[in-house]
Symmetry: D2
Subunit: 135 residues, 4 copies
């Protein structure tokens, strides 16, 4: 299993009039978690996309256990439990500073070749970087 975590401060922009983080804004937290998890492996999402492979989201499931609040310093833990193939599944656990689990999520992304306009396998470089975590 490969895991990584990042810290994200909740902005005013993220909140709604309930005083909670608006439910659609977790998608951005997930994205930051994913991209930084890959960067920690020395793998740049930006470069992959520049090379012609992009990763649209195919499925997303979210559970809102407790609200995240303005100015909370969240820890987003990203978990990759299986090596990617044509798809890559990221799980997330989001806690506040007190360590309370506020939120869980699972996102399935698809590798997609922009030139052929078809799904494709995960890039070899990414598979290599992830290999040690699934040995």
């Amino acid at each position: 299993m490969f895991t990584h975590h990042v810290q994200i401060r909740v902005t005013y922009a993220d909140t709604d009039q309930m005083g909670y983080v608006y439910y659609g804004n977790y998608a951005r937290y997930y994205e930051i978690g994913r991209v930084e998890a890959l960067r920690s492996l020395g793998f740049s999402y930006k470069e992959m996309e520049a090379s012609g492979i992009m990763m649209p989201v195919y499925e997303n499931n979210s559970r809102y256990l407790q609200p995240a609040l303005y100015d909370d310093l969240l820890t987003v833990k990203v978990l990759v439990k299986t090596p990617p193939s044509v798809r890559m599944v990221f799980e997330y656990e989001i806690c506040n500073e007190a360590g309370t689990l506020l939120h869980t999520g699972v996102t399935t992304l698809v590798f997609f070749n922009r030139q052929t306009n078809k799904p494709c396998r995960a890039p070899g470089v990414l598979l290599e970087r992830l290999k040690p975590f699934f040995a």
Copy 2:
């Protein structure tokens, strides 16, 4: 079953550099669908919240079948298949102008009493307005 649909034009703000609607932005489309579905019953979410009952999202599941694109005129169909209790489940089917199904989603919301700070039953008025659809 109670159903309602609304039309939403995809803005530039909704898109990302892939040229797709960013995956977190469907949450707003769902919200517009839900609130307008309730309004079509003569029920105002705003008034319910002013009366002390709010509806935070507890769970959200989304499937991105085909990308929604800039300036698409989307039809968001909202389906309520069971009468609300402490929870209310909304399903969504989003099509483009050609009638192609692009996206499906399911959101579970909880009725929550702000004074007692506890979950509560759906307001009687809402249950009454929905009754004819579940007879």
Copy 3:
């Protein structure tokens, strides 16, 4: 002068924990106003962009006179006071249902040729459609 107006319902997503529309979200309202104003002339922003000319924003000035609130049905009035050249200036006046002026804004956009990567003149078709308003 060319004017057009659209109605926009404030969503929960637009609000922040102050209970106001977050100040960055007016940009979307302006965008909807601009694009629908052009569409009312029979001119499609999407088609212009597909033809290789895009309109990035160069300058934006906003005044927040009174807060727009959740579920407000806003009227966004768009005003074009001078014919476009390399730039096009849009002004906005946003009122609530009571007719109270909540917000004013001015956005300057630039016509930009994606192939030459340089600013360019407004498309002839757009100038023609606007001509009657500046005679």
Copy 4:
């Protein structure tokens, strides 16, 4: 003069189909800059708001000189050139990693007492913390 700077990574969520940061999303960058500038003084916006004083935005002016792009690591420099009174003016200069100035902005916020529902003076604590910078 008081200055502070923060670094912000451009997310996919921030971009639009032009491949630029959407013009409304700079408001969030400004907000992060402002709040972290205040935090660096030992002053918490969150606590001020909890004490009954909030700071709605009254005016915002933005210049988009060059586009910020996906994955750019931006430096947002915040400048406070005059001590706050009933208003507080923040200026911003946003550069990319190459040091190119991409964007400038100015935001005027108002101190507002939620109980009296009227504008008020800046909290004494904030004025004290800022004093050394305007001596």
